[in-house]
Amino acid sequence: MVSLPGWMGPAPGSIAQVRPSPTDLAAVLAPGDALPRRSSADTPARHHDWLVSKLKAAPVQLEVADSPRQRSVWARCRLVAIGERMPGEGRSSWTEGWQPDPTQDALTATILAGFHAGGWTVRRAAEDLLLPAAVRTFRGVCLARHLPGEVRDRAVHDLREAFFYRLALPDERGTPGWTELAARALETAGPFQALLGPLGPPQRRRAAVCAVSRGQWRHTAEHCLTGGTRLGRAAELLDNLDALETWLDHHLQRRLVAEWTSGRTHHDWRVVTQARGRARARLRALCAECPEALLEATLSLDALGARLLDATRRWAWTWAWEELARDFAFDIQRPVTTPCEQDDELPGPWDASRDPPLRTWVLLVVLKGRLPQLERWVHTGSTGDRDTTWGRLLADDLPASVRGTDTTAMRLELVGKLSSHLAALRPQLEAVAKLTPGRKLRAGFTALLQADWHPDVPFPRSGFPTFRRNAAHVVGVQ
C-alpha cells in the first residue's frame, strides 16, 4: 500500500468514485494558464480555497474530460495537499511552542498533585491560575449564543462558585474533574501517543474494541484489519495500539474520500480535525479512569503551566456549552468529557499453559476432518453450517482449561496462532497418514500419539481409518 506525503497511514486503494464539481476539478487539474492569477493585493489564507472561490465566480473550461482517471488524480492531489498540512498544522501544532515558566510550572504541578491528594489547600492557587481563563471562555460561549447581559453575569457568577468543586469533587462516575483537565494537558504531548501512555490493560482493550466498533471506524477496521471478526480486529489493533495514529491517518483519508464521494469537498480540514478530535475524546475519557498514571504522565511534561492553561480553555469551552444546554445548573455530577461506555469485551492475555491442550484439541479437530470448520470459525466467528461433529468438538472435546468462561479468548488466540499449531502438528499428521491400514491401525495410532496426547482432551476410541484419511488429506499424502 502506498503512503502519500504527510500521511502516516497508507492511502485508500480505491478513490476514483469521488465526485468533485467541475470547479473543484478545474482548480486542481486545469492548465495553469487557464486559471486566475493572484495579484499582489490577494493574500489568501490557502491558495486552493482562493482558487475555488475565483473559479466559482468565473468558471473555466477543462481541456480534459471528467473521467474516473481524472477524478482519481484529483483525489490524490487533494490528499497530498491535505497531507502537507498534517505534520505541522495537524501534529506539531499540538506539541510545539509551549513556553516553560519555572515558577508557573511548579505551581501547576503543585495544583495537580493537590487535587490528586484530595486536599483543598490548592484552591486559591487553582482559582487564581485557571479560573480567569474559564470565566473568559464561558463569556465567549454566552456571547456566541447572544445571551442577555444579566444571564451572562449570572452564568459567570455561578461558574466562579462551581469551578473549584467541579475540579476537586468526583462526578457520577467517581472521577474528579481535574483528571479531564490533566488529560487535555497531556494530549499536548502528542495527542494520541501521550494519551495511550497512562492507560491500563483494560482501558487499552476497550480502546481497541471501541475503535473497531463505532460509526465509520468500523468500516475502516473491516477494510484494513484482517482479524475476521469484530473482536478479532480489535485484538489485532490492540497488538499495534501504539501505532494508532498510523491507522487513524488511513481512516482520515477514507473519510475524506467518502466526503468527496458524496460531493462534499469544501470542509476537508474540518473532517480531519473532527475525526481526530473524536478519537482524542475517547482516549481522554479512558485516561480519566487512571488518575495515578495520568498524574504521573502529566507531571512529567515540560511547560506544564502553559499546557494546563491551554487545556483549561478548551475544557471550559466544552463545559460551557453543556451548562448552556442545562440552563447553567452547574451539576457537577455530570462529567464534561462523555464517559467511555465501551465494555471490556476482549479477554485478557492468553495464558501459555493453555497451549498444550489447545494443540492436542486442534489435532483432534484435524483428525476428525473439521479443519475447514475450524478455520472458518476462527476467522468469522461461525462455521456457516450446522455440522454436528464440529458441535461435539466444541461442546464435548474442548477442555475447560482451554475454553475458559467462553471460547472468545481461544478463538482470538487461534486467529494468529492456528497456522503455527498446524505447522507444529505436521510431523504427527504425516506419521498418522503413513500408518498401515488394517487391523493394526488402532494400535499404531495409539502408539504414535498417546504419549504426547494432552490428558485434558479425550483420546479417540474409534474412527481411526477416517483419521488416517483426514491426516493424509491435510498433509497431502495419499
Binding site: G88, G140, D158, I332
Partner: protein, 190 residues
C-alpha cells in the same frame, strides 16, 4: 463563512491547536473578519462583577454532612424541612442561607449573637436527625446549611463577623451542604 462562534472560540484560545493556524491565516487574509474579531474581543474582555461573598458549592453539593429535604405541612401552608445527621459536637453553629432576588447567597440565620442556634436547639427526629424548618418561595429555590465549630463560627466582635467562617468554608474545613428545592409541595433532596 466563519461564524461568530468559531471566532469567539479562537479568541478565547479554546480551539484545538490543529484548528488555530487556519483561523489565524483567515484573520490575516480577511480584513472584514479581523474587524468582526476585534468587535467580539471588546465584548469578551468587558468586565463584570467578580466578587464571591460566600464560597458555597453549587446546589446539591457539599461535604462533611449529609442533608435531605422534604415537604411538610406548616399551619395553613406547606413548608419544607431540612434534615441532617445529629453531629457529635453539640457546640456547632447552624448557619442557614438562601439566595436573594439576584441569586446571591444571604445569611438567614444567625443574624447576631442572640440569634445563634446549635444543632441541639433543633428538634431531634427519628434516625438521630435534626430538623430545620424553612418556608421556601413558590418557585424553585436553593438553600445552604453549614455547621461550623465555634472556632470557625461567626465572630461577632470582629469587623467582618464572617471572615474566619468564609476562610474555613473555602478550604473545606466547615461542613456545608446545598440543596435545590423544586418548589412548594414537591419534595427534594441534597
Amino acid at each position: 463563512m466563519t461564524s461568530d462562534t468559531q471566532l469567539l472560540r479562537h479568541l478565547c484560545e479554546a480551539d484545538d491547536p490543529d484548528q488555530r493556524q487556519a483561523m489565524q491565516a483567515d484573520l490575516a487574509a480577511d480584513a472584514t473578519l479581523a474587524s468582526r474579531a476585534r468587535r467580539l474581543e471588546d465584548l469578551l474582555d468587558a468586565r463584570e462583577p467578580s466578587d464571591i461573598r460566600w464560597p458555597l458549592p453549587p446546589a446539591g453539593v457539599g461535604w462533611g454532612m449529609a442533608m435531605t429535604a422534604s415537604a411538610q405541612a406548616m399551619g395553613d401552608s406547606r413548608g419544607h424541612s431540612l434534615f441532617f445527621d445529629d453531629p457529635a459536637d453539640a457546640r456547632l453553629v447552624v448557619v442557614l442561607w438562601d439566595p436573594d432576588d439576584s441569586g446571591t447567597w444571604q445569611v438567614l440565620s444567625p443574624q447576631g449573637p442572640d440569634d445563634q442556634l446549635s444543632p441541639g436547639d433543633l428538634p431531634l427526629e427519628a434516625g438521630a436527625r435534626r430538623r430545620l424548618d424553612i418556608v421556601p418561595p413558590e418557585g424553585p429555590s436553593r438553600w445552604a446549611v453549614a455547621l461550623p465549630s465555634l472556632a470557625h463560627g461567626p465572630d461577632w466582635a470582629a469587623g467582618d463577623p464572617w471572615h474566619r467562617f468564609r476562610a474555613g468554608v473555602y478550604v473545606g474545613e466547615v461542613p456545608v451542604q446545598t440543596v435545590r428545592l423544586p418548589g412548594r409541595g414537591v419534595s427534594g433532596s441534597a
